[in-house]
Amino acid sequence: MAYRLGVDVGGTFTDLLLLDDASGEAWREKVPSTPHDPSVAVVEGTLSVCGKAGVQPADVRLFMHGTTVATNTVLTSTGARVGLVTTEGYRQVLQVARSFVPGGLAGWIIWNKPPLIAPLDCTVEVPERIGADGAVVRPLDEAALRAALQNLKAQNVEAVTISFINSYLNDAHERRAGEIAREIFPDIPVSLSAQVLPEMYEYERALTTCANSYVRPRVAKYVHNLKTQLEASGMRANMNLLRSDAGLMSFEKAQESPVNLLMSGPAGGVAGALWVCQQSGFKNLLTVDVGGTSTDVALIENAHPRVTRDTECGDLKVRATSLDIRTVGAGGGSIAQVNPLTGALRVGPESAGAVPGPVCYSKGGDKPTVTDANVVLGYLPEELLGGAMKLDRPAAAASLQPLADSLGVSLQQAAKGVYDIVNENMMGALRLISVQQGYDPREFALVAFGGAGPLHANALGRLLGSWPVIVPPSPGVLCAFGDATTRLRAERARSLTKTFADMTDADVARYLDELANEVAQELEAEGVPRSDQELILEAGVRYSGQAFEVALPVKRDQFTGNGLQQLGDAFDAEHLRAFTFKLDADRELVTLRATALGKASNIQATQLPTRAAKGGWPFGKKKDGDLSDAIIRNHRLWADGEEHDAVIYDRAKLRAGDKINGPAIVSEMDSTTVILPGHAAEVDSHGLLLIRPV
């Protein structure tokens, strides 16, 4: 028997989902997280969920895990002391960066540059040079390199990065330097830029490789620890982590290129949301994941999440493929204030975070936050289900009153203002991934998760015209679903940058065959036979002279004569769609990319019983449409300029086919859904709440 296990480690709970590959049957478990050593909860949960299913850890064939360890290392600045070796003349590649100062005109007056990820005193340069044609201009001076590496050793670096100019064209010097570095530093990881990111642009490549070095020791330690613990529990599974692009990579690979894990956690959410919604037939989705300090949004078109080449994590922006997840500094903890000079209401990006947190948490927070506004509006009831915490509504109101006073509006109006502005900020991010990319949000459903997502979901749907608004059950389980249902994935790209005129279909076909073969072999090595693999090919095209390419799907078979012609036409059409025009200019093939995917799991979606089907008490007793047994209590909430009577429902007691008219609140253990007046939510057969205007 073969099982797969998906694990999501959240701040509060660790969620696990065990799947029987053959039958599709699933078991869930939720255990408290253990932040000091997350593997403790993982192992405990694993044993527990295996117990529920009556199987042994040894029966688990695939272990899949989305992790925030790389992300947190960057966000808390707790990564390795990184050494960097550059080409002579480029020691300050990170110091000068792209010379960019944020903040617009006069932004330099208030901007302080954040510290470098590889400090200058840990950066050395060596004589060597590759030209723009890939030829060696100056050989690598190995003696000088050894001396430079000894200097780094004296600086006690914990990871070494080698990033030479033009190495994306010829990495011979980097590889040789890597060999020597491993001799001198046998115990610490060495990352080579041409391996981590074989692409033009020296700053982006050096930065990305340094970021890789920065998170590498922590990730390696975490992965090693987890593997040891799991193996001690008897597990023999193929162990994988979820990458930023929602593919999977083995623990071994993850230790080499952890820069691909920076979005691992959020990617699990997007993958899970997609999987869950797809079961109910929704393939075009905008996802909104609202946390305490920030909101992550992504767009899924025809069941494919959009992918980007850049990963942003805090101040760090690296070139690594990830789901196109945009983050705005708008979350439950975002602080609201009225600027004394301009009298404008601002929400975020400053956040009260978990500590001291919103005022209503009574943990010492004294600045009004979005969560406080939600409490004042009645969207977030004082008593939370399953939570030991009671929210302090009078304190929340008191903290918002000064804002109301300086705006000259009522308390509720001010709270609604905070709510509306934070929604507007979230919508700005949603607009970037939808409208700006040429997608009409009205053709997408909006799926909201994360602790606070369902509080804002209905309002966002109304702003964007995205219906239905979908609220899947339990955010933690959602990520575990994403982890467990993800397919193994291998990806290779080739940087070409040649005009179409300088290429033939035969050239393209040859490159594609090479790439396809490489990814197929990689997956085979992971235990996926070719017969179970799916291959996706993609070409990056731009007009010669442009800076950015457009990624387009291609087929190997099309390159038999007029394949380039077809590709050019497809590019023109896409350019017209996204940017309102096309050009009569030379087209350039920038990259070719091959992705191989392993077999999808055949997990079955949960079926929620209907009231009629359930028969006996408590579900069958009441007449059709009567939800009184799911009611927790009556309530009042503020919307559209007045206070309304509303009802709070217990989500666990809802059944398929139930319909809830707004204004209403649906409460579950780790989130709360608001249904606004003029809207109604329907519970579908898989347990999703589908909110639509009435």
Binding site: I109, A132, L432, Q546, F579, F581, A585
Partner: protein, 628 residues
């Protein structure tokens, strides 16, 4: 005669009340729209100056043309006053003549697109965007001839013309213009991309109106203007004195051996109004360093500088314009008479920021930054590949040191221009016959201070094919001044090393320098001035800069710090040196310019390797002598 706008719907907009929250939402929506304008352009443009460096400026204006979101204030006012024609729905204006729009764009390289946004027969908004074209013809590649004596030598000058007439694209006009540039493809692509970004703005404005209603949108724009005005009125009242304050700074030279050119400004408040008077600025130059300074743009610069430290999130708009009065003498360097050459106005544009900063900071030294904006150093390179005969042309903008500031040290080699980035060297090497052998900040070039000025950059270009280059830079003679006890930053310099080893120091502004394969150009930019007393800087921070290679062991002594090459500070020696320096130095003023013009002139050749510039007033004498 002003532009006539033909609206088929004569109903006036109704002024309605807008609640403060809806107002913020509309402001945010417009902010997002402007971000999208940028994104569209950068993704689709072709010239490195726009696609890599970001030399382009979008804005959205309200129905009467006042900027609601943007950077440099509205470009529209001067055009509307001067355009002798009618504007109809579907028209899109294209122009590049600074004299046709009161200097809203300031040289003919900047192509401006103006798109009225019609909605139900009425103009409800405007989208505008301009970008610097790599080449618009004229006597030199890059179209920025230092020695031009009239605008006729600076390339094709486009008066306001309709690129679209009632929605119909006027291809002939585009062909006519493109025939006059050396970089046809880039110009075509960049222009179309600029139009596309305005179309994006048009869509967004229409969506906002769909959502909130036309009257509410128009009313909200008025409220946003009013809100800004209120804030500025209060700021002006509290921070600008009725007493006259003066500051003067200089453009080092005009590229023809004359200089420095004085830029002088006096600022005071009369009632609720600020006066910025540029009386005392030198007369216009006979070369191309003149800067046709648009009064509205200057008001915007002033406003943004004022407010940046108080509410950085604010979206600046034109609402406060009547609170600022700008007086610029006709015929001066900042308002030259037609047809004065304007192409190299970038030096004066930069200097305006230093002067404004100095004026505003004098009353509030804690908000005073040192000098750093000094210029926008250009390199123009062109030639033909020997083997293929293919033409290449590059326009690249360099960066220097950010000055020391009350908020902290200046960054090394970063951009003072909004949203600009450098050109990646691997990109340069891939597309141009160049090898960049060195790209790093120059140790000690930032002025010493409690907060250090940022270092300038050295770029070393090795030429791989024959070609010609031109350089436009400044701050090679007059130093980037320090403030509140900080030292001036180092000046810029350009050194050409021929393949045979012969070395020349090049003037800061020069055209048509021929190069052969193997020649090497060291392009050094200026460092930012220092802020505050360098002897007050924590010795360990100085030691750290030494260890990082940003300050030398010798350079640390300017801070009174004695340290080893690894940055380890000798505390005893440091204390002694600091005491000795404190005892021997003269009292510091607010500004440290590193000496007056005459003393700089006297030391010029010895310090810079270049002859001192000749005072501009002697041009007339020189002319007379030449005539005789």
């Amino acid at each position: 005669m002003p532009a006539k706008i033909i609206e088929t719907n004569q109903t006036p907009f109704e002024r309605i009340a807008v609640d403060p929250i809806t107002l913020d939402i509309i402001e945010n929506a417009l902010r997002n729209a402007r971000t999208e304008m940028d994104a569209t352009l950068f993704r689709t443009a072709m010239s490195p100056g726009i696609r890599e460096q970001g030399d382009a400026f979008p804005l959205i204006a309200e129905k009467d043309g006042r900027m609601i979101v943007g950077q440099f204030g509205s470009f529209l006012d001067g055009f509307l006053k001067g355009y002798n024609g009618a504007l109809e729905e579907g028209d899109v204006i294209w122009l590049s003549d600074p004299y046709s729009c009161e200097g809203a764009i300031s040289h003919v390289n900047d192509w401006l697109i103006i798109m009225p946004i019609f909605r139900k027969g009425r103009v409800i908004s405007w989208a505008l965007h301009f970008g610097h074209q790599t080449d618009v013809g004229g006597k030199v590649p890059g179209s920025l001839p230092t020695d031009a004596t009239s605008i006729y030598q600076e390339g094709i000058r486009i008066p306001p013309v309709k690129l679209y007439r009632k929605g119909e694209f006027q291809e002939d006009i585009l062909r006519l213009v493109l025939a006059n540039t050396r970089m046809t493809e880039w110009c075509r692509a960049d222009l179309i991309a600029i139009v596309a970004s305005c179309r994006i703005a048009e869509r967004r404005v229409n969506e906002i109106c769909d959502r909130f209603g036309d009257d509410l949108y128009v009313s909200a724009c008025q409220d946003l203007l009013a809100r800004n005005r209120r804030a500025m009125a209060q700021l002006i009242q509290t921070s600008i004195s009725t007493e006259k304050l003066t500051f003067e700074d200089y453009i080092c030279d005009d590229g023809r051996g004359f200089g420095p050119y004085k830029i002088k400004a006096t600022m005071w408040r009369e009632g609720e109004k600020v006066i910025l008077d540029w009386e005392g600025t030198d007369p216009q130059s006979e070369s191309s360093i003149n800067f046709y300074l648009n009064e509205n743009m200057l008001k915007m610069f002033f406003g943004v500088y004022m407010i940046m430290v108080f509410d950085p999130q604010i979206l600046f708009n034109d609402g406060f314009y009547d609170l600022v009065e700008v007086r610029i003498p006709q015929g001066s360097l900042l308002k030259p008479d037609f047809p004065a050459a304007l192409s190299c106005r970038t030096h004066a544009l930069g200097r305006i920021f230093d002067v404004l900063g100095a004026l505003l900071g004098q009353r509030a030294p804690e908000f005073l930054n040192a000098a750093g904006f000094s210029s926008s150093p250009h390199l123009m390179l062109s030639g033909r590949y020997r083997e293929t005969g293919k033409y290449y042309q590059l326009f690249q903008i360099g960066f220097g040191g950010i000055p020391g500031r009350p908020f902290g040290d200046g960054a090394d080699g970063h951009s003072l221009w909004p949203n600009f980035t450098n050109v990646p060297n691997e990109f340069l090497e891939a597309y141009f016959p160049l090898r960049i052998e060195r790209y790093e900040s120059i140790p000690d070039s930032g002025g010493a201070g409690k907060h250090r000025g940022g270092n300038g950059i050295r770029i070393s270009y090795r030429f791989l094919e024959p070609g010609m280059f031109a350089i436009h830079d400044d701050r090679w003679f007059i130093k980037p001044w320090g403030v509140n006890g900080g030292d001036p930053g180092e000046r810029s310099r350009k050194i050409l090393v021929r393949a045979n080893g012969a070395t020349t120091i090049l003037p800061s502004k020069c055209d048509d320098i021929a190069v052969q394969p193997g020649d090497l150009l060291h392009y050094d930019t200026w460092g930012g001035g220092g802020w505050g007393d360098p002897l007050d800087r924590e010795a360990d921070l100085v030691g750290l800069d030494v260890r990082l290679g940003l300050v030398s062991v010798e350079g640390a002594k300017r801070y009174g710090v004695v340290c080893a090459a690894n940055g380890a500070v000798d505390l005893g020696a440091t204390e002694a040196l600091r005491a000795a320096l404190r005892a021997s130095r003269p009292a510091a003023g607010i500004f440290n310019t590193g000496g007056d013009v005459e003393s700089l002139r006297a030391r010029c050749e010895a310090e810079t390797g270049l002859p001192a510039p000749v005072p501009p007033r002697e041009q007339l004498v020189a002319h007379r002598m030449a005539a005789e």
